[in-house]
Symmetry: C3
Subunit: 272 residues, 3 copies
């Protein structure tokens, strides 16, 4: 009940305040990220030149850093904008896309974690495991299995270590602040067949955190909204339709999203 | 009647000549800008490396500069391409996205206005007001209200000062060359709920100006086409549909656009 | 029959292996390229920083280089990633978007052809003719007409000279390895009315080549799949629909694509 009240407040504040979400993100899914923030009622802004990111983030309610197509210029911008956001108490969300695939991504995530205080770290199991294991003193990360228990262990420990919310998205999503743990069983496998659903989840988390209702609930809200919209979009698909239609229906579902969707079919549980 | 004849000629020339519109633009809405130019019958090209923009613009019929995600590299490209376009008599359209939000955007717009002769400046009220007030000798810009009269005053004065068409888009659009003023009452509020409708309007203005029928009519045409397409798209929306479907219908409406749409529902008025 | 068996194997291997296709591409159509690779069953990745492209390509099954919005940074990345792909035997596909329009594009293509061994070069007639004529010793390229015979001559000779597959896409597509020549008569003119269908074809070729079934069949497969999906999408269009719907239906058609589509309506012929 507490959770639903919180989520309701978040949705209402988005409509009322239209929080501005500053993105420094990849150019693959940037249009979808802008549109999903608008569709739920927020305001997106994308800016990445080092000469303006500190100023831009200072008028925003949240900052989303997404390393999907990182480069020298954007890495510099991540750090500048992130530090300024920290000074101003603006929540910072990190989407460590593809960390583990290259040394540049690993180094960049390490640097961000060292220099910037995150509010939310959101990734899939493989990305979060990689970050969990970046710290050399952590052994045996690969032996942790991809079960709910394994994910829960990693989320809790990493949340404690980084002092932020850790959200692992997958068939079952796990969100922890280091002491409390929520699992969400919404969503549909088809979501992974279009590009950007992870990025869009991070943008929604940014938007929800931008309401000032706290990062734990912001992360739960963003992830649950994405999952529920995915379910609704999938159910609208006719037999002869496919991924093009699914993406259209997904954006439709976000733009008509309401607390009733959560009440009727939200599957969040607090664990422990 | 003169207006409708002009708009008809513009539409016919687009189909006949497929004007090439060179964009140096942001990566958020670039795909939509390319598709909307194609959908109306033109040819888009995007190129931003300083080593090729002068050559690219020289084969184009119009140049659209959009500062949405400006950076050092693209600022340089704006100037090089703009100057070359000026030399060749190719119309230059500026979309000053987010001017006023950061000093970098302000400086960049100032520099463009100083070094490049624009054909059309298109922005929303807040952006145009900011540019109107950049000149330090202008006082009291914030006291000008957001009414039709306020917009008309700014459009006319700024058009005179910059010697170009100024187009302010909003619930009612205002377009002036410094002496004549048109207002357009087409469009629908839903247009502001997807990203890129401003950028797309600027691309359409570029395409319409690329027909050689003059910048005043080019600006009126581009803005009216966008507004009418938005109306038609909105009317097609079923109750259970949302912003994903709207964007699809918007592109549908552009690709089937004809002078009949203007005849049946165009709401342009010459003021004064 | 041999062709259909090969295409069937390619489709099956895509579903089974989900080949990773590394793109260094333009920001206009990058989202569509990622989604089309996913829709057919593959995995796209986009990465362009020079510090990571060699590492990224080493875990990929194919590399697609697309010069649509090339710049200094991406040109460097093309070369680094291409050389590494060559060392590792990973197929490299080049889409020379707009070659001929600027000296930068010409120089870049020349450099790529000199430093990197391509598996497939795919462009339209104008682009391929330009490359055919870049070699100064080639005279009279402009006198070769745009007929099937003209295209065949260029494809065969250029394929021999570059020792790679050359694919010319158009109303009739021509694909040659220098000795064998295939023509494909699938597709629909509407495909050229949305941006990115060329880029998406190249991405599909990359995906099909990534199955390890050879570049000739990979190129034939990618181009035929795009053409057939275009036909199916066009047939679904209702009278009041347009290019927005077409793009949705195109992605739908790719995501439900099967060997039956090729069996029922594939129009590939081996010439000579």
């Amino acid at each position: 009940m507490e959770l639903y009240n919180k989520l309701n407040t978040i949705l209402e504040k988005i409509k009322r305040d239209k929080p501005l979400v500053h993105h420094i993100t990849n150019y693959v899914t940037v249009n979808d990220c802008a549109n999903i923030v608008l569709a739920l009622g927020g305001s997106p802004v994308m800016a990445e030149d080092k000469k303006e990111v500190e100023e831009m983030v200072s008028i925003a309610s949240a900052l989303v850093l997404n390393i999907g197509t990182l480069n020298e210029r954007t890495i510099e911008a991540f750090i500048l904008a992130g530090k300024r956001a920290n000074e101003l108490g603006i929540p910072v969300i990190l989407d460590p896309v593809g960390v583990g695939a290259t040394a540049l991504r690993n180094r960049t995530v390490e640097r961000i974690l060292k220099e910037i205080k995150l509010s939310v770290l959101r990734g899939n199991m493989s990305e979060i495991k990689k970050i969990y294991g970046i710290d050399a003193s952590t052994r045996g990360v690969d032996s942790i299995d991809n079960t709910l228990e394994g994910g829960q262990k990693i989320a809790v420990e990493l949340a404690k270590r980084l002092d932020c919310i850790v959200a692992i998205t997958g068939a079952v999503d796990i969100i922890s602040d280091g002491s409390r743990v929520f699992s969400i069983s919404n969503g549909h496998p088809i979501l992974s067949s279009i590009t950007g659903t992870g990025c869009m989840s991070s943008s929604l988390i940014g938007l929800c955190c931008g309401t000032g209702e706290g990062s734990l609930y912001g992360a739960v809200a963003g992830i649950m909204i994405m999952g529920l919209a995915g379910e609704k979009a999938q159910e609208r698909l006719k037999e002869y339709e496919g991924l093009g239609s699914f993406k259209v229906y997904l954006m439709d579902a976000i733009s008509s999203f309401s607390i009733d969707d959560i009440k009727k079919r939200g599957k969040a549980n607090e664990l422990q």
